[in-house]
């Protein structure tokens, strides 16, 4: 059965007002590089097609999506069409009255990045010495307005030690924060430099990390961990977790800031994963007939290679972030790099292998 189209990831702009040291997209800073922003009128027809095809959810991302001057028009459109909206934002601009009014009026769910409890930590991670104060100010406004929101903490060895104190602060100050997602910084984009400095978690460290997070869930029930399930012990399955970077490409597509349609921001780097421009693309035709999507929508789990081909989670995880696998190995069906490293080091649990006797090295 053909996968149902229900989701759009919309990169409203690739412009950003922060210079995060871990930005996986290496988004250009304001005024320092060329950037694109989506224009609502150019998107309208494409969005009408998406709504007609059963669109249910959209996520705005960027760059910093709130920098798109037409944010209001996009939001109003989706609200009128009863589409659930999430905006992934660094929170710097939520305090702006117009933006806050838009978020409140059109019920946009905010997923705000906050990487530390100490201003210096967050500011250094975010590359801006005013970031912490501005983001906190925005969060206080959301709290004041009783608007529910999610916090996202991108963790590395640089800031992990602040996780519990940050959770304590959130518990104390932000009653409207109803979800706290922990993302593990991966090697994409600018985070490559962090890897050189030894700041990123290695595969073999992830099981202990997931164990520690699982132990916190009683005290902080709002937490979830974005990590491949292979790193979570069965006994910790009560922990809310999801696959590292799993993009959900079999339920939706992405619109890049320049108007190109792709499976995800991977389309920025590789033309092969672009399906055309919103101004000319027939969404229904692409979704139903594009050879790449046709071939992979429903059975990618059976085409994955290396450890992913022999992992009992492959049907749920679908190999995690395909962009990460592509960047590491140059192959869309390559294994999730951290899972492969875990297997190659001899630590991957046999109980999580479909066939424990089968060699799962990559390349084979």
């Amino acid at each position: 059965m053909k996968s149902k189209f229900s989701f759009l990831y919309i990169y409203l702009t690739d412009r950003c007002n922060l210079g995060c040291i871990h930005c996986w997209q290496s988004a250009p800073l304001e005024g320092t590089g060329k950037y694109s922003s989506l224009k609502f009128d150019e998107c309208k027809e494409f969005l009408d097609d998406a709504v007609a095809m059963g669109l249910e959810n959209i996520t705005f991302s960027g760059g910093e999506p709130l920098l798109n001057p037409e944010f209001h028009r996009f939001v109003e459109y989706f609200y009128k069409n009863s589409i659930r909206m999430t905006v992934e934002t660094n929170g710097m601009l939520i305090g702006n009255k117009n933006i806050l009014d838009t978020i409140r009026k059109y019920r946009v769910y905010c997923a705000v990045s906050l990487d530390g409890v100490n201003p210096e930590t967050h500011n250094k991670h975010r590359g801006n010495n005013k970031a912490f104060d501005r983001t906190l100010e925005s969060l206080y406004k959301l709290e004041q307005e009783k608007i529910g929101f999610q916090l996202i903490m991108a963790i590395s060895k640089f800031n992990y030690h602040e996780l519990v104190s940050l959770l304590d602060m959130v518990n104390e100050k932000f009653k409207t924060c109803n979800a706290f997602k922990i993302n593990i910084v991966n090697t994409l984009g600018r985070a490559g430099e962090m890897e050189k400095d030894g700041l990123l978690f290695k595969a073999e460290e992830l099981p202990a990390l997931s164990e520690e997070v699982a132990a916190l869930i009683g005290r902080y029930p709002i937490i979830s961990l974005h990590v491949d399930p292979a790193f979570v012990d069965f006994k910790n399955f009560r922990l809310k977790f999801s696959c590292g970077g799993y993009c959900g490409y079999n339920s939706g597509l992405s619109i890049l800031a320049n108007g190109n349609v792709s499976i995800c921001s991977l389309g920025k780097q590789m033309d092969k994963y672009l399906f055309g421009h919103i101004s000319s693309i027939d969404l229904k035709d692409v979704w139903e007939n594009n050879p790449f999507l046709e071939e992979n929508h429903d059975n990618i789990h059976s085409r994955l290679k290396g450890i992913c081909s022999n992992c009992i989670f492959r049907k749920q995880c679908l190999g995690g972030c395909r962009a990460e696998a592509l960047c590491a190995y140059g192959d869309f069906f390559a294994p999730a790099p951290r899972c492969q490293a875990y297997y190659d080091s001899g630590n991957f649990p046999k109980s999580k292998l479909i066939d424990p006797a089968l060699s799962s090295h990559y390349p084979g």
Binding site: P229, F234, K235, F237, H301, I312, F313, R314, K315, Q316, S351, K352, I354
Partner: protein, 112 residues
């Protein structure tokens, strides 16, 4: 007796299990881990790639789906092996559970 793990869900369906029904454990179902703390077992079904947890009583029932016992005989096995409260309609409980195992494709109909 079972609960979903990860993204997996068991959908309850009204499959009626008669006393004479014979079920056999799917050969693709293997125990992957025993959780010592709460006594549960992690099962993996290679056919549909579902991951499930099951408690010791559930595992006892599953292990008794050997293809040569009827549902009524499995109920008897439980009566003989566990202390069962008098106010429980064991036959109905076990047959409903067998129905769930069937729906989760952990067992299939045997020859009988």
């Amino acid at each position: 007796m079972t609960e979903a793990t990860g993204d997996c869900r068991i959908q309850k369906t009204p499959v009626i299990i008669e006393d004479t029904v014979v079920l056999v454990k799917n050969p693709g179902v293997t125990v992957r881990e025993e959780l010592e703390e709460d006594g549960k077992y992690i099962l993996f079904n290679a056919e549909n790639e579902l991951i499930l947890t099951i408690n010791p009583t559930g595992k006892f029932i599953l292990d008794n789906c050997t293809g040569d016992k009827t549902a009524a005989q499995i109920v008897k096995e439980i009566e003989n092996s566990f202390t069962v409260s008098e106010d429980i309609d064991l036959s109905t409980v076990v047959k409903n559970y067998l129905s769930l195992l069937l729906e989760a494709e952990l067992v299939t109909f045997g020859e009988g």
